[in-house]
Symmetry: D3
C-alpha cells in the first residue's frame, strides 16, 4: 500500500509548484505518491503577517480536504510553518512543517546548526521558533540573505551564489556546523543548482523540503499501521458537543462565502 502525501505550497500562486516537484521528487521513497499543490483565492506570498494569516485560513481548509481525500500526511511548504499547530487540532493525519522537521533532524547532519532565511523581517520570527522548537542549544542563530521570495524565482543563479557565499560567512559568525535553508524556495533553488552540477557549499546545507518529506513518509507509515495518534486531552483537544456544531457551522460559512484575495 503506497503512502500519499500532499505537499501544499501555502501561497496563492502556482509558480513554485514545478520547482518543488523537480527538486523533491527524486528523494521520494519507492511507494510514495507525492502531490504538489497550492492554495486558491489567497495572497500570492506570505512575507507580511497579515497575508500569512489569510493564507493560513485557506490552508486549514486545504488540510481538512486532504484528510477527506485520503492523504496519509500533509506538508505545509513554507519555513514559517504557517498554521501547522492549528491544523493539528483539525485532522488526525500528521501535519509536517519543514522548519520544525529541520530542527528535529539537524543533529544527524552536524553538532550544531543555524537558519539562513530570505528576508530580515523573517529573522526574529524564526529566532522565536528556534527558541521554542530548537533542540536544546544546538540552534546557534538566524540570519538572512535579504531577498524577497517573489524576486528569487526570477534570478536563481544569483540566489544560489548568495547561498553558497553567505552560508559560509554566517556559519562562521554563529559557530554553527550546518545551515538550514530558511525558505523552501531558496532550498529548492539551491537543490536545482546542485542538480545542474553546481559546486556544493563548503558548509553543509540542510534542505528543509527533504526533512519534511522524510518525516511525512515515516509518520504516514505509522498512521497506516496504527502507530500514529495525537494527544487530545490538552493543547490539541478537538471540539465536541455544541463546540463541534459551532465548528461545522463556521467551516460551512467560510466555504460558502470565502473572500477571494487572489484578484
Amino acid at each position: 500500500m503506497s503512502r500519499r502525501i500532499n505537499f501544499i505550497n501555502p501561497f496563492g500562486s502556482s509558480v513554485y509548484d514545478e520547482l518543488i516537484k523537480k527538486t523533491l521528487g527524486h528523494f521520494c521513497a519507492a511507494d510514495t505518491v507525492m502531490e504538489v499543490t497550492h492554495l486558491d483565492a489567497c495572497p500570492p506570498d506570505i512575507d507580511f503577517f497579515y497575508s500569512k494569516h489569510m493564507i493560513e485560513q485557506s490552508l486549514y481548509e486545504s488540510v481538512m480536504v486532504s484528510e477527506e481525500q485520503g492523504y496519509d500526511a500533509v506538508i505545509v511548504g513554507c519555513l514559517y510553518d504557517p498554521g501547522v499547530r492549528v491544523a493539528r487540532e483539525l485532522v488526525d493525519i500528521p501535519v509536517i512543517g519543514p522548519l520544525e522537521a529541520s530542527f528535529q533532524m539537524a543533529a544527524y547532519y552536524g553538532h550544531s546548526t543555524m537558519v539562513l532565511t530570505d528576508h530580515r523581517k523573517a529573522v526574529p520570527y524564526l529566532y522565536d521558533e528556534a527558541q521554542r522548537n530548537g533542540q536544546g542549544n544546538s540552534v546557534r542563530g538566524v540570519d538572512a540573505i535579504d531577498w524577497f521570495v517573489k524576486d528569487m524565482i526570477n534570478d536563481r543563479a544569483a540566489v544560489a551564489r548568495d547561498v553558497v557565499k553567505l552560508s559560509r560567512e554566517a556559519a562562521n559568525r554563529f559557530g554553527a556546523e550546518t545551515v538550514i535553508m530558511g525558505c523552501t524556495i531558496i532550498a529548492a533553488i539551491y537543490q536545482e543548482y546542485l542538480m545542474d552540477g553546481g559546486e556544493p557549499s563548503e558548509v553543509p546545507i540542510i534542505n528543509p523540503n527533504l526533512m519534511a518529506l522524510k518525516m511525512a513518509e515515516g509518520l504516514a507509515d505509522l498512521k497506516q499501521k496504527g502507530g500514529y495518534f495525537i494527544a487530545r486531552q490538552g493543547y490539541y483537544m478537538k471540539p465536541t458537543g455544541h463546540f463541534a456544531d459551532e465548528f461545522a457551522r463556521a467551516r460551512k460559512v467560510w466555504n460558502s462565502n470565502k473572500p477571494d484575495f487572489s484578484a
Copy 2:
C-alpha cells in the same frame, strides 16, 4: 487632552461587555475615555484554535479602524493575547495584550507568579507564552480551574469560590507568590465578587484587565507626546511599494465580502 482607549472583547458576542465596563471603569485615570467593544460576524468564543484564527481576522480590522477613529491605544481583551503581535504590524498606536501586560507588571506584586486559566486546553498555550514573554524565571507554572468561558458567566458565585480555593492550592504547588488570573472574564468575575464585598483570596491575585489598562494609558500618553514608536526595520516591518498595494487590496476584499460566522 484626554486619552481614548478601545478595550476590544475579541468575541463575536456582547455578553461580556457590561461586566468589563463595571469592573474596570473604576480604575481608569481621570482623563481616560475607555470604550468596551466587541467583534461582529465572528465566532462567540475563542476556545478552539480554529475559531481563534477567525476571530483574529476580524480583530485586525477592528484594530485598524480604531486607529482611524483616533483611539490612542487598544486593548485586546483575552488572555490568549489573540492577534496582538500581528496587529502591531498594522497600526502605529500601541496594541496591548493583558497576558503580556500581566507578565510585565507581575514583579511589582510579588517575587514570582503563575497563571491560573480557565480550561486545560489553554494551559500548554499559556505555558508557551510564559516561556516566550515571561520575565526570566519568575513565571513558575500554569494551571486551570477547568471551566469553559461560556459557562462561567452563568454561575459567577461558583467561579469566584473556585478562584479563591484553587489559587491557594496552585500557588503552593508551583511555589509562586502571586497568581495571574488567566482569563479576562474570570478576572472580571472575581473583581465583581470583591466589589460585592467578597473575602479576598489569601494569595494575591493579579487582574490582567487592570494591568492592560495601565499599560494602555501609559503608552497612549507617550504616543500623544512623541514618546512612542515601534521599530519598523525587522519583525514589525510594514508593507511598502507593491506590497502595500497588495495589502490594501486584500483588506478591501475582506471587508466587502467577509463571511459571517455569527449566524
Copy 3:
C-alpha cells in the same frame, strides 16, 4: 485626585535634578505631580559598588519618608535600580526602577532589545539584571559607551553623538531591534538633544526615564484605587513582633547618627 511621584536621583548631588525635570516633565500625565529630588550626605555617584551600597542606605530612608509624606509612588532614578527590591520590603507604595521598567515595556517598541550603558564596569552588572529580569530571550546583550557619569554632564554634545553612533553599531552586533539607554543621565542628555532638534537615532532608543514614569503613574493610580498590593508572605515579608521593634530601633539609630559622606 492627582498622583504624586517622587523621582529620586540616588546621588549625593543636585547637579542632575534640573536635567531630569527638563526632559521628563513634558511626558507627565495631566494629573501627575512629579518632584525630582536627590539624596543628602552620601557619595556623589554610584560608579563603584561600595558607594552604591552607601547610597542605598540613604535611599531606603528617602523612600520611607516619601511614603510618610504621601507620595503615591517613587522612582529610583539610576539604571542600576539601586535598592529597589529592598525598598519594596519597607513600604506599601510602588517602587519603580527604570531598568526593570524598560525591560518590561521594551516589547512595545520592537521585537528584541539590548542595553547600552555608560561604563564597562556596569556591563556585567546589567548583564546579570537582564538575565534575571529580562523578558525571556528578548534582551540580546549589553554594551558600554565608556563614559563616566560625572564627565558626561560637561560634554553633552559629545555624549549625544556617541549615543547615536554606538547605538547603531551595538544593535547590529547583537541583533537587537531597539536599544535601552543604560543610564538615566545619558538618556536625559539624548532627550535634550532631541528637544533641541537633533537628528533621532536610526535605531529606536528607549528612554528608561519615560518607562519608569509611566509605570509609576499606572501603579500610583492602582494604589489609590485599591488595585495595588504586594505579596507579604515570602520575599517581601515585613518585620513583625520583636523584628518590627528591632527595625524601628535600627532606623532610629541610623537617622540620629548617620555618617555624612558628602563632605
Copy 4:
C-alpha cells in the same frame, strides 16, 4: 532498491532479539529489510556505566562492520543511546538512537512529553540527555518504574500493567501530554501487550523503537539518494594522516585481542 537497516541490541545477549523483531517488524516500510542483531563478548546488560562503556567499545566495531556490509543505517537499540555520537565519528551511514529520535518526533504526538524509564539510576542520566537533546522546553521530566531490564523479560504482564498505571500518574505529576517509554525493552513489552489485545494507556505512549525505525528509514533513503552527509569540520571530524594510521592500528589491536566479557 530496498533499504537495509541493522537494529543492534547493544547487549551481550540474544534474549531480546525476538521480542524486537516481533513488535517492530509490522511497522517496517515495504522496501525495508531490517535485521535485529546483538553484540558478542560483552556484558549482558547496560545498567551500570562501567558495563555501558565496555558495551560501547563492542558497539563501535559492530557499527563499522555494518557499514562495510552495506547497511544503509543502524539503530542502537537502547534508550541510553549508547555510543551514538562517537559512532558518528566512525561511519558515513546514519546512526540512530531511539531516545534522540523520540525527542525529535514527540512533537507530532502531543504538545509536551516526558520519559518513563526502567530504573532510578537511569533517571538523572536521561534527565541530562533531555536537557541536551530535548526540543526546547517540551520535555517536562523523567521518572522510573523501578524495574531492572533483566527481570522485566520474565514478567511481562506485570511490566505492562505498571506501564499503564505509572504513565498516567507520571504524566499528571509532570504536566506532560505524552510519555516516551524510556527503555526499548519496556516499549517492546508494552507493544506486545497491545498486539495481544491489551487496553491502551489513557496517556499516549511513544514507542522509541518506532521513532528510531522511521528516522532510520528516512535517513537511509537520503543516504542512498545523495541527501545525507555529516559535517566533518568540527565535532565529527574524522582522523586523517597519521591519526588515520593510529586509528586503523588501534582498531586492529582491538579486534585481534578483544576481551570476552560474556563468560
Copy 5:
C-alpha cells in the same frame, strides 16, 4: 607557611561563634589557622533585607581589615552570601561565600542538589542565587524548614530532627540527590548532632561551612603562591585616581562615625 582564614559570622552577636569553631575546626587542614569572628555595632541577625544591608556595611570594613591584618582569605559565614561580590571589589584576598561554594562543590556529592533553608522569606532569595550561581540545571529547588535563626540556637535537638525528616521529603519532592543546608547555623547544629552520635540523614546533606573552608584553603594557597588574582577590568574594577580618594574619604567617614545598631 600556614594559611590564615577569618571566618566572619556576619551577625552583630557572638552567640554563634562557639558552635562554628566546634563543628568546623575538626575539618581544617594541618597548616590552617582559622579564626571565627563576628561583627560589632550592627543588627544581631540578617532575616530582613534592611538589616542585611546594614550588616553588609559593617562586613566590608571587617573584610578590608582582615586583608590589612594579613589574613589569606575570608569566609562570610551566612548562606545569603551577604556582601560577597561587593567585598571582592575592595580586597585582593579571596572572599568566599558558603552558598556559592556549596553550589560549586555539590557535583562531587551527587548528580543534583537542592537547598533547604531556614525560613520561607529566604526561599525566593536563594532561588534567585541558584539561578545565577547554580551549576547548570543541577540545582533542582529550594525549600524551607521554617525556623528563624534566633530560635534555632535554643532548641538544637528539634532542629536536627527536622533537618533529617525534611531533607528526605524535600529531596524526594524536587528529585534531588543531595541537600545543601541553606543556613550556616542549621548546618552547624546538624554537624554537632552527628558529632554527638546522631543517626545521619538518609539523603546526603552538604554542610556549606565545610565547602567554604576548603575553597578558602585552596584559594589562600594559590594567593600565597602567585596563583590567585581577580580580573580588574570589568565588574571588579577598583576605584583609581579621584575615585580612590573619594573611596578613602568615605571609608574614613564611616569609621569615625558609624551608627551603632547593636544597642
Copy 6:
C-alpha cells in the same frame, strides 16, 4: 597526616609527565604528596572520540588501583574530563576533572569566563560541557587556538605566544573577563612560560591544573575526616548482588586480557 593525590595524565605516553610536575609542584600544599602518572597500553592522545573511549577504559582501571593503593583523591589530567563521571561510580575517593573544577572556581577570578582550547574539534565538545557544568550564564563561549596536542610540546614558545594573543582576542569577542585554558598541556606550557619570566597575558588566564589540584586537596581532606561521601541511590549507584559479581568478573577479564594499543 599527608594527603596523597594521583594526577593521571590520561594518555598512553610519558612525555607530558615532567611538564606537569614542573609547573604544578610549586602549588601543592605543604602536606600534599602528588604523583604524576600516565596510562599504559592505550593510545598516545585523546584527539578523536574513538581513542578517548579506549583511554577511558584504561583510566577506570587506573582510578580503581589508585583507591586500592591508598590515594586520597585522583585528578584526570585532560580538559575533556575523560571518564570522570563513570569513575565516580567505581570508587569512593573523589575524582576531579580540571574542566569541571575550572568552571566551579572561575567565579573567584572574574565575573564571567570562556574556554580557549587546542583544536576546533574540541570546541563543540567543550561547549556541551559548559552548558551542562557551567555556572549559570557565566561561561560565555568556547574557542580554539588550533594546535594538536602532540605538536604543541615541540614548539612551546609559539604556543605561549598564541595563548597570550588569542586570549585577548577571544575574551573580547565573547565578552568574558577571564579565559580558562582548555587543555592541560597548553596550560602547563603557559605556566612554564610565566616561570621563565614571560609577560603575563592581559586577560587573566585560569590554569585548570591549579583548580583541579586545590579541589583535590580540599576533597581529600574531607575524605580523610569523614566529610566526603557521594550519593549512591541514583546516578552513582554501585553494582550490588549479582551485578557486583558481574562487575568483578568483567574487570578481571579486562585485566587478564587487555588489548595493547600502544604498540
